[in-house]
């Protein structure tokens, strides 16, 4: 009889916990929408950018999507008269912490592959309205591997859009990070696109987890 009472108490307690705590958890964790952007100090960014008088950091923002995506947006100075902000955006896709996190995952915040011919054309038209655009025939390489880019130009300005998916777990990424997406959009008055890409070539990721550069050893 006393065993039955004990069992009943456990059941009641369990139900109360489920109703009180678990439902709260569900409310808090089932929303998989990105949080609103919030301003952060540039020092809190997971990236170090070379100092550039032409493209200073104007503002930095961050947001999360579910428990696995952290996104950062760095707005850079734009010395041109063209519309649109110069920026570097970073999305970090981490692995879920546990089985519950695996069950409840938000939709990807970036597509893989990052672009198709059609979506790239749409993006370029949106980012650089009225400019003549061209996708670079061959990619370039920064500290974290190969990346692709496109050019947009008019008589006085040159713009670049560079995009990179870092997903190399053999060397670059720790197991906890599934992938990192970088996108860099900059317009300047330089005619040479390499000058515009310099910042993207030289950026250093400073996430808490150890991210290795592809040629660390050769640099030593």
């Amino acid at each position: 009889m006393s065993g039955c009472n004990w069992l009943l108490r456990v059941l009641v307690l369990g139900t109360a916990l489920t109703l009180g705590g678990c439902f709260g958890w569900v409310d808090n964790n089932l929303t998989q929408l990105p949080t609103p952007w919030r301003r952060i100090q540039p020092a809190a960014l997971p990236v170090t950018l070379p100092v550039s008088p032409q493209f200073p950091i104007i503002a930095a923002r961050a947001r999360t999507t579910g428990a696995i995506y952290s996104s950062y947006n760095v707005v850079l100075g734009n010395p041109t008269l063209l519309p649109g902000e110069n920026r570097l955006s970073i999305d970090v896709h981490t692995l879920p912490d546990g089985p519950l996190g695996m069950l409840i995952q938000p939709p990807r915040v970036f597509p893989v592959p990052l672009y198709s011919t059609e979506t790239l054309a749409e993006t370029l038209a949106k980012e650089f309205p009225g400019l003549k655009t061209k996708v670079a025939d061959s990619g370039r390489r920064n500290r974290y591997g190969e990346y692709d880019y496109a050019l947009a130009q008019d008589a006085t300005n040159t713009c670049v859009l560079a995009w990179q998916l870092i997903s190399d777990h053999n060397r670059t990424l720790p197991r906890r990070i599934e992938a990192i997406r970088l996108e860099y959009r900059v317009c300047g008055t330089e005619r040479n696109p390499r000058a515009l890409l310099q910042m993207f070539d030289a950026l250093i990721l400073t996430l808490p987890d150890s991210i290795l550069e592809i040629d660390d050893l050769t640099r030593l």
């Binding site: 929408l33 301003r39 503002a59 923002r61 707005v75 008269l81 063209l82 649109g84 902000e85």
Partner: protein, 610 residues
């Protein structure tokens, strides 16, 4: 939903009584629902004298089990469709007298639970329940109608599933396997089949399907909705043909097909007005323009007149623009019309009239306040009584004015940059830079420019604290009702607008109460925040919150069309279909566009589904 069903059921009952021979007055006395209609024109239904009198004998033994089920659950739409179907099979057939009397189908087995499962879309469960019943009662046979309905419902379900996931060929295959699934009583599926053909670029077949619907389905409203849907895929000639067919083919007594005939005109009007409002669409032909003007004038449509005003303003036909903005303001006074009127008059050099046009809204509408700057303070960069370091004749000032007059915001930035090489930055100049950056979709830099303007304004105390020092501004601000924003408030407002554009919603909501802005500016920002939050709640499927936020926003400012559509979709997702449909219909009646027509169609589909 239950209420709605009861209302519909009540309407049908009135129809039954009318058909039974009671006078309309007597029939109406039994129900408060106006607009009673017969189940099917020409069908007379007698109410059973008493429950338990047993099923009425049907000489030709048509299976009426589905009809009885629909009567029992009060699904009037489907009851009507079933009566029409049975009458098509046997024109002499009359609905049974005991339609609303509880029945047992077969030897002691009530089929209601199986029908309920079918109706709820639980097809495997229905089949399992039937099998179990047969195991328990081997002598029982399910009615042929039940089995047929189950087959059709499964087919319809497969079709919808394929359509939802855009497997167009599977939609066509499902319809071929179960043609009953795309009959008129399942209009939604018939539309989906036509859509599948259209998506597969088999436009002739799509046209055939639409043609079948508008010629075979009896209801004028269904034909009309079908033509609206078809217009998304078919050429104007094909739509014209459909309209002719829909208005004339197989008419049913009691249906008014006038509404079908007007579809083409409505589509044309919608297309014209959409084109009018789209800056990228290019100029309208003379005939189209004349037609649009005629429609707008006839309807005294203020929104349409504003669209027409902006159309002429873009074409640099400022006198025409002025006329249409003035008409819009005359029909329905609004700050949008006043804004257009100010800018059109300014472009015509009629600055005094422009200021007069803006006076009723000054200090109450930011769009009007912004527009008034072009007439009260033309060189915005060095404005506010010539605060620029070089005074009223600063180098680059005329260049800046010219750039602003032609909406050349890159030119505005260039002019300001040139001015800054000759003189120190001023609060007004930096504020102007902020607005030009906003126009160039560079909100982060704009926010910084407004912040800099704020700092500069604080260092210019005498001027910052006495806004509107120029004679023109003073004459306006002296009006007792007007409370123009101070430069500090303008800068704070600019920063808030920029923060909105960067998505800093949470931070802005936090800071808004202690931000120095006029009540009008605060209300505008708060309304924008609420709209953003409502959109977010919609994405998050928190439909109750969407309504709550939109209601709060509506207390601050009238609801624009896009948010009314959002409200409609929230209602739709909460299954408040009657309200959603009424709202979409009201929006569509004001200005019919592809999205409003789609909304009306989808809510109609939801009603016809199953």
């Amino acid at each position: 939903m239950t209420g709605s069903r009861n209302r519909r059921f009540g309407t049908a009952l009135v129809g039954l009584l009318v058909g039974f021979g009671l006078s309309p007055t007597a029939a109406e006395a039994t129900s408060t629902t106006p607009g009673a209609r017969a189940l099917v024109p020409g069908v007379k239904v007698e109410v059973a004298p008493a429950p338990g009198s047993g099923p009425a004998a049907t000489p030709n033994a048509l299976d009426d089990s589905a009809l009885r089920y629909y009567a029992r659950i009060g699904d009037v739409e489907r009851m009507e469709a079933e009566i029409a179907r049975l009458r098509a099979l046997d024109p002499g057939w009359e609905p049974p007298k005991d339609l609303f009397t509880p029945q047992a189908a077969g030897p002691g087995v009530d089929e209601t639970p199986f029908w309920s499962l079918v109706s709820a879309g639980k097809f495997p469960e229905a089949r399992a329940a039937i099998a179990e019943q047969r195991r328990q009662t081997p002598s029982w046979q399910p009615s042929a109608k039940l089995l047929q309905e189950l087959d059709v419902a499964e087919g319809a379900n497969r079709l919808r599933g394929a359509s939802d996931t855009k497997r167009w060929q599977d939609v066509i295959d499902a319809a071929a396997a179960q043609p009953e699934a795309v009959a008129c009583n399942r209009l939604d599926n018939a539309w989906r089949l036509a859509e599948a053909y259209a998506e597969l670029k088999q436009l002739d077949r799509a046209f055939d399907r639409y043609k079948t619907i508008v010629s075979q389905c009896p209801k004028a409203k269904e034909r009309r909705d079908t033509i609206f849907k078809a217009s998304r895929y078919l050429s104007p000639e094909q739509v014209r043909e459909l309209t002719t067919i829909g208005a004339t083919a197989n008419p049913v007594a009691g249906e008014d097909y006038t509404a079908v005939r007007t579809v083409e005109g409505e589509l044309e009007t919608g297309r014209l007005l959409e084109k009018l409002g789209n800056p990228k669409a290019g100029p309208l032909s003379t005939a189209d323009l004349a037609r649009a003007e005629q429609i707008i004038r006839d309807k005294q449509d203020a929104d349409g007149a504003i669209a027409l005003g902006w159309y002429f303003q873009r074409q640099k036909k400022h006198a025409d623009a002025q006329r249409w903005f003035a008409d819009a303001n005359g029909w329905t006074p609004s700050d949008k019309a006043a804004e257009g009127l100010i800018l059109a008059l300014a472009a015509l050099g009629k600055k005094a009239e422009a200021r007069e046009a803006g006076a009723p809204w000054q200090g109450k509408s930011n769009r009007v306040d912004q527009a008034l700057k072009s007439v009260t303070n033309p060189p915005r960069g060095s404005g506010s009584g010539g605060r620029g370091a070089s005074g009223g004749g600063a180098p680059g000032q005329s260049e800046l004015s010219a750039a602003l007059a032609r909406d050349d915001f890159a030119g505005c930035l260039a002019a300001i940059q040139r001015m800054l090489t000759h003189s120190r930055p001023t609060a007004a100049l930096m504020q102007q830079r902020g607005w030009c950056l906003m126009e160039l979709k560079r909100p982060t830099e704009a926010e910084a420019a407004f912040a800099e303007a704020q700092a500069l304004a604080a260092r210019e105390p005498a001027k910052a604290n006495t806004p509107g020092k120029s004679s023109s501004q003073r004459s306006l601000s002296d009006r007792p009702l007007d409370t123009p924003a101070s430069p500090a408030q303008e800068n704070a407002y600019g920063q808030a607008v920029a923060r909105l554009a960067t998505g800093d919603v949470a931070g802005l909501a936090r800071d808004l109460p202690r931000t120095n802005m006029t009540p009008t500016q605060k209300a505008e920002i708060r309304a924008s925040l609420l709209a953003t939050e409502a959109g977010r709640a919609m994405d998050d499927k928190r439909y109750g919150d969407v309504l709550r936020l939109l209601d709060a926003r509506k207390e601050l400012t009238p609801e624009p069309r896009n948010l009314s559509l959002l409200r409609g979709w929230a209602l739709y997702n909460m299954r408040r279909l009657d309200e959603a449909r009424a709202l979409f219909k009201a929006i569509d009646d004001r200005l019919s566009t592809e999205e409003s027509r789609e909304a009306v169609s989808v809510t109609s589909m939801a009603t016809y589904r199953y």
